[in-house]
Structures are given as C-alpha cells and as structure tokens.
C-alpha cells in the first residue's frame, strides 16, 4: 500500500526536524533512533547549550551543590543528529514543510516535532526588569547569574511569587542563611496548585524557616539606585522592602510566538494537539506531519474529562516525547495515546512535596494519612464524588496507591477506614482553591493629572 511504502521510506531516509533541544526534544530523538529511524535528524535549539536538566537549577545549584554549567542530560543512546544550537526557529511554513531560522536558514522536514517549551514570565515593567540584580530563573544562564549573586552575600533577597519555583528559591536562600522576603498575591504559597488547606502548611514552613512571608500583597514597583542597581521593592500594602536581589517567579509563558501566522493552533496557552501528539491547525483539523511534546503541548486527557491540559511536568515531557516520536514513524493503527497521569515534585525547606492527578480540579480535600500539623501527610482531592488528585508531604511511598485510585475513578471520600489514623477527622473539607470565575487581583485604574495634556491612567492594585 502507498501509506506503508511512505512509512518505510520515511523510516529509512526521511527528514525529521525537532525544534526545541531540551528534555522533550532529546528524549524524542533517542526514541526515534531506538525505534529504528535511520533518516536525517536535525535538532534546533535557541540556547547555545546541549540539552540540560532544569529541576536542579532551583535546588542543587542554588544550594551550591552543583554547577549551573553542568546539568547536561545523560544520553540513553547516541542520537546521531545535526545540532543547530544557539539559533532560534522564527517561523514555520507548513505548506512547504520548512522551518525558518533566525540566521536566515531554512530546514526542510518530512515530519516535525515542536518541543519549544516555556520561558519565565518576566517582570512586566521593562525598565524595572532590566535593573541590575533583578532575575528570573528558568535557564542555565539565569541560574548562573543568580547563583553568583547569592554567593556575594546580598543583604536581602526578595522573591516575587510563592509558587513552586519561588518557594524553592526562598528555601535555598534560607539554607545559605540569607535573609529573604517572599511576596505572594494569594493568601498562602502554592495555593494555585494545591489549594488553601495545603497552602497554609506551606506558609508555616516558610515562616518557621525564617522567611519573611508577605501574603495577600502585590508588588507595585521595583526601585533602582542612581547606577541602575535594584535597591527596594514597593508593596501594595504601602510597605517597602530594601533588597539587592529580586527574583521574579511569576510562572511561565509558552514559546509559541514563532508560530504566529503558520496556521497551527498555537497561542499563549500552548499548541493544541490530539492524544497522539499530532498538532491541530487553527481550524481544529489535525495535521499529519506536525507533532508536539512537552510543556508547550496542550492535549486532551480522557481521565480528566477530555480537558486540554498543558503540563509543565518533567515526567510529562519525557513520556509525551516518547509517544510523539513513536507516532511520528508509525502507521495510524500502531499509534499510541499519551495518557500519562500528571505528577510533579518539589523539594523545599527539607520537605519532599509530591502530587499526582490534577489537585486543582479538586473541590474537597481529605487528609487520609498522617497529619497537617506534623507536615507529614497525604491529602486526597475529590471532584464530583471521585478521587481526582493527591498530594504528599514527606509521604511519597504512598503516592502510587493514590495514582491507582485516580486511574480507576475511585469514589471520594475514599471508603477505606483503616489505612492510617486521621487526626484531622474523616470529613472532607473544601480544598479552598481560588474561584476561577473571580478576577485574582481586582485592579482599579484611576485618572491623574489636572491639565488634559498630562492626564494619565494609573494602575492601583486593590488592597486585600
């Protein structure tokens, strides 16, 4: 058959291009070779470095236990690829099957994998973001710069945002005995991912470890000195924090701008694809030669109501890359769906935090094992009468059991009564996630200035 002949040809002498030379890109390349792809393979990456691992950047590296220049990923096998590193992809011509590069080159493909990931969301005011001492933490260069600054014993580090990265940075600073202030818009750290019940435990962790944690506040501005070094941060409660290092940890933005006008279904929330990692075009029609994997992908998950999930999870990048690579060189009946159960970990203040499923879909939480007070516990999240997620604090060996409950849509609250004592009781309580229908920061805008010529709009963040 013609399709079989094409696949045989593709596997033997086709051209596969992978845009994005990080974890997902590398694992896809290894899988392609593992499964017998013998054609030409081109890896394109905007950073000048070979694929490196990012989780250590906010943990071992900041703790001084590893060098930011030495987190390259080990190879499971040689990938025999042409590496185009230090050059960004700037466009995609789907009709001509070509990727356009920043240096003017064009690379032709028979199959394309997009694994361009995300980048740190910068501080929105550019002049303040460019002050000396203001950092984000995403890349190896970011980590090298921040580590250098932490080694120079700053008076105080100021972290904007108490998500996982922000909390890990604060933890590393305290381990190095550096004074650190964390400003978080919500009422507690980690609220967006784990809800308010667990967030309250995270807040205790911060405070007991000497973090000056400010919740329910926004940062209204960063102030520099006369030579352009950051010297203070201003908060919406009217206070000011003197600091010489600011780390902006406001989450990530998906790297899809280069696909504008390509016709692909790509936008700020990622690139939509089917469960087999095939990208959708903007009309919602699945493509047959463009695949997506890793943080930049958005794919429907049957376990979670076919919601399009985009996951910034290490394990997701690995398994989605493997599925995408397999499907790229397989006939339609041999293709596999990507049905990885979301899972992530964090390590902060000496506590191992892990989660499976999608806790943020949870309406209620039940502490099924251990206790919040001891900060060693398992919490199960319930959604419409079933278990939808679980989190553990220093209790990770139980996580697989809860993954089984999630995969089999076990009833919530769970029926078992004898697994562990439950000092928190047997009644689930609201998981206390922010209401997604409410704006998170209720901004108001005021007009200032008297003459029409200098009337200005001024942004006034609402007080909590």
């Amino acid at each position: 058959m013609a399709a079989d002949a094409f696949l045989t040809w593709l596997r033997r002498e086709g051209r596969i291009v992978i845009v994005g030379a990080s974890l997902a890109g590398l694992r896809a390349a290894e899988t392609l070779r593992d499964e017998g792809f013998e054609g030409s393979l081109t890896m394109i990456g905007d950073e000048p470095y070979e694929p490196y691992d990012r989780p250590p950047l906010s943990k071992s590296v900041l703790l001084g236990k590893a060098s930011p220049a030495h987190t390259e990923l080990p190879r499971r096998r040689p990938v025999d690829a042409k590496w185009r590193l230090g050059v960004a992809a700037t466009g995609l011509d789907m009709a001509a099957k070509r990727v356009l590069l920043a240096d003017g080159d064009e690379v032709e493909y028979d199959r394309l994998l997009i694994a361009t990931g995300v980048r740190a969301r910068p501080w929105p005011r550019q002049a303040e973001a460019e002050l000396d001492g203001v950092f984000v933490l995403r890349t190896r260069d970011d980590a090298a710069g921040l580590q250098r600054r932490l080694m120079a014993s700053p008076r105080r580090v100021f972290v904007i945002g108490a998500g996982f990265t922000g909390s890990e940075i604060a933890s590393a600073c305290r381990a190095r005995d550096l004074p650190v202030t964390v400003a978080e818009r919500a009422d507690a750290p980690l609220v967006g991912a784990l809800g308010g019940v667990v967030g309250a435990v995270a807040a205790e962790l911060h405070r007991e470890n000497g973090v000056d944690l400010r919740t329910g506040v926004m940062v209204t501005g960063l102030e520099g000195d006369s030579v352009g070094r950051v010297r203070a941060a201003h908060l919406s409660d009217g206070s000011t924090v003197e600091t010489d290092v600011v780390v902006v940890s406001l989450g990530a933005t998906r790297n899809t701008e280069w696909l504008a006008g390509s016709g692909l279904g790509a936008g700020p929330r990622g690139i939509a694809c089917d469960a087999g990692c095939r990208a959708f075009d903007f009309r919602g029609i699945v493509t047959d030669d463009v695949f997506v994997a890793g943080d930049v992908a958005r794919s429907p998950h049957p376990l979670f109501g076919y919601q399009f999930l985009s996951l910034e999870h290490w394990g997701n990048a690995v398994t989605q890359a493997e599925v995408a690579a397999h499907n790229m060189i397989s006939s339609s009946t041999d293709r596999r769906p990507h049905m990885w159960v979301p899972a992530f970990w964090s390590s902060q203040f000496g506590v191992n935090i892990k989660s499976v499923g999608v806790p943020s879909m949870g309406e209620e939480i039940l502490i099924t094992q251990g206790s919040l007070a001891e900060r060693r516990f398992t919490g199960a999240y319930g959604y419409q009468g079933r278990v939808i997620g679980a989190v553990t604090f220093d209790n990770s060996r139980w996580l697989q059991f809860y993954q089984g409950l999630i995969e089999t849509a076990a009833p919530f609250p769970p029926a078992f009564l004898t697994v562990d004592r439950r000092p928190e009781g047997r009644q689930p309580v609201p998981a206390d996630f922010p209401d997604p229908s409410l704006p998170t920061h209720g901004p108001t805008v005021t007009l200032s200035g008297y003459s029409p010529a200098d009337r200005r709009l001024v942004f006034k963040p609402a007080h909590p």
């Binding site: 000048p48 990923l73 080990p74 203040f349 191992n352």
Partner: protein, 81 residues
Amino acid sequence: MRLVVDLNKCQGYAQCAFLAPDVFAMHGEEALTYNPRVDEEQRENVARAVAACPVQAILADALDAPGEMAAAPGEEESHGR
C-alpha cells in the same frame, strides 16, 4: 559522567546517598539533592548507587559522547543571546 534522577520515581530510600555520599544527599527526610556532573573517581560509587536504587530512578551515562555535539556550538553560538 552526567546523571539525572527521575524524581517522580524516587521515593527517598536513600541507598544512593549511602553508597555515593559525595554525589547524592538527602535534604530532609525524603527529598534528594544530587550533583548531576560526576567526577571520574566517583564512577564506581555511582554505578553501585544506580544498581542499588530500589525504583531504578538514576540514569547516568559515560562522558564519552561529546563528539557529535562538538560541531554545533562554535559557529552558531553568535546567534544566541
């Protein structure tokens, strides 16, 4: 030698921290930190840790594959940041 630990799999058994204490360390009860670039003299210890990990979460390679990488950075580096 480069290494990476799949911390999804890692359950804090601490066998690695026991067998290769210069590479792996526990941060608290369960959380693992590690140096992803390992000196040659640690090769034996790391090999033991890889073998002993109850959940097989440690992936290491030999530091002998730079050949295929070497071509790339030089000329394209100028287009980077």
